[in-house]
């Protein structure tokens, strides 16, 4: 774990912006946290369940914490089910290539999630509704329209009109048929655009080594970990009726 980029970034203060303070149980903290399970060390940016829950408060906290953390558990199930290369033992000869393969699996999964998420296509349809999108047809424009919408993905979030040409060409794709040119050319236009720089500005390492040491002390503090967990336990206990309602059997 101490080699992981996430750990290194968090402990050096490069990641997890501290500018959104939140208050739990009367204490305001700047450092956001991740939910983990019991095998992780006691760091201030990790929240693990109580190892031996005896009180009702601790049991409630554990069940709610696991209710949120099950997302990541399911993610591995989806990943291995979708791409069996992550299921079988790796057949590559170098660590670098194994890492790259897992990255590709993650990238493709994220792309699939984006492409199949309803909002992208519906937003595209919504934006196109005014300028005669009727020619594309309702059902037929499915896959190609999705391709264009997904390719334009991040740019389309702001409702930018610059990629409307790609979307319109994508809508015409079903007529292309087997000719290997119609719809694919449309996607080529969309692909030719460079991907938008999403996290353009890096978190600055303001303050040099002193800031790094500060972040180090702040994030690797076991006492803070215990305190955060205790505060969260009290926080969810106050609203336990509302929080536990979705999980009641």
């Amino acid at each position: 774990m101490n080699q992981s980029p996430l750990y290194l970034d968090v402990t050096a203060g490069r990641w997890s912006p501290r500018d959104v303070p939140f208050s739990i149980n009367g204490t305001t903290r700047p450092l956001p946290y991740y939910l983990v399970d019991g095998v992780y060390p006691l760091y201030a940016f990790l929240v693990s369940p109580h190892p031996m829950p005896l009180t009702d408060e601790a049991k409630t906290f554990n069940s709610l914490q696991e209710a949120i953390r099950k997302d990541v558990e399911r993610l591995f199930g989806v990943l291995t089910k979708r791409f069996h290369i992550a299921l079988h033992p790796g057949r590559f000869r170098s660590v670098k290539q194994l890492i790259m393969t897992y990255k590709v699996v993650c990238i493709l999964h994220n792309t699939c999630v984006e492409a199949r998420r309803d909002t992208f296509l519906s937003r595209r349809r919504h934006a196109r509704g005014t300028n005669g999108g009727g020619s594309a047809g309702g059902e037929g424009e499915g896959p190609a329209g999705a391709a264009a919408a997904a390719a334009g993905g991040h740019g389309a979030q702001d409702g930018g009109s610059d990629d409307s040409g790609a979307a319109a060409a994508g809508g015409a794709a079903p007529g292309g048929g087997i000719g290997n040119c119609g719809g694919l050319a449309a996607a080529a236009d969309a692909v030719a655009d460079p991907p938008p720089a999403v996290n353009a500005e890096e978190q600055p390492p303001a303050g040099g080594m002193v800031a790094v040491f500060d972040a180090w002390g702040q994030t690797l503090n076991p006492a803070e970990h215990e305190q955060l967990r205790a505060d969260l336990t009290a926080h969810v206990w106050n609203d336990r009726g509302e929080m536990l309602a979705p999980y009641a059997v």
Binding site: Q3, L75, I99, T111, G142, P143, P174, L184, N199
Partner: protein
């Protein structure tokens, strides 16, 4: 040593592995054969194919004997089959009619290209807006300030070089790497990394 050349196939030819399913649209996404075979939606495959097909490594070439070499579509399909099924490179030869070395090379280069091309956009940390949304959603569920969840998994390493034997050994004796995505319900996940087990 000589070996029999595998006859290349051009798309649209009747013996092509995906004569219709790739090049023509499909009405339903759930019954789409491409999605069943390659485990990605057609739109995603199309994007990858469009980006990869003009790369130098996947362009169709003519070799010294004047034979036409593999079409980019064959190489991309082979690479996707390797990812989707985790199968060995020899396994795809009866399907896309490529030799083992071609499939292995195409897979490697294709994967490298995908990481280079889409890594910065599709495998990244959430930006401030997304982070804020995540934290709001988690606050509704009782955890204000929560960025998501972390988890580890082991990925066994079948063919580790003898030189690294033991370097990545887990407690139970198998060679494995650890990868750790962090998950969010809507964003997929942001980071992926691999370290030796136990680290």
């Amino acid at each position: 040593m000589t070996r029999a050349a595998i006859t290349p196939i051009v798309p649209g030819h009747h013996t092509h592995p995906y004569p219709r399913s790739i090049l023509s649209p499909c009405s339903s996404s759930t019954t789409c054969p491409l999605r069943r075979h390659l485990r990605v939606p057609r739109s995603v495959f199309r994007r990858v194919y469009q980006a990869v097909k003009d790369e130098p490594f996947s362009q169709q070439r003519i070799n010294a004997t004047g034979r036409l070499q593999a079409h980019p579509l064959q190489k991309v399909v082979a690479a996707f089959r390797v990812i989707a099924y985790g199968e060995a490179a020899e396994r795809a030869d009866e399907y896309v009619r490529l030799s083992r070395s071609t499939v292995a090379q195409a897979t490697k280069l294709c994967l490298e290209f995908i990481v280079r091309r889409w890594g910065p956009t599709n495998l990244r940390r959430p930006n401030n807006l997304e982070l804020k949304k995540m934290m709001e959603r988690n606050a509704e569920r009782g955890f204000p300030g929560c960025m998501g969840s972390l988890d580890c998994t082991h990925w066994e390493w079948h063919q580790f070089p003898t030189g690294t034997a033991g370097a990545y050994q887990s407690r139970k004796g198998s060679e494995a790497l650890l990868s750790r995505p962090s998950a969010m319900r809507t964003c997929g996940f942001g980071t992926c990394l691999s370290v030796p087990p136990g680290a």
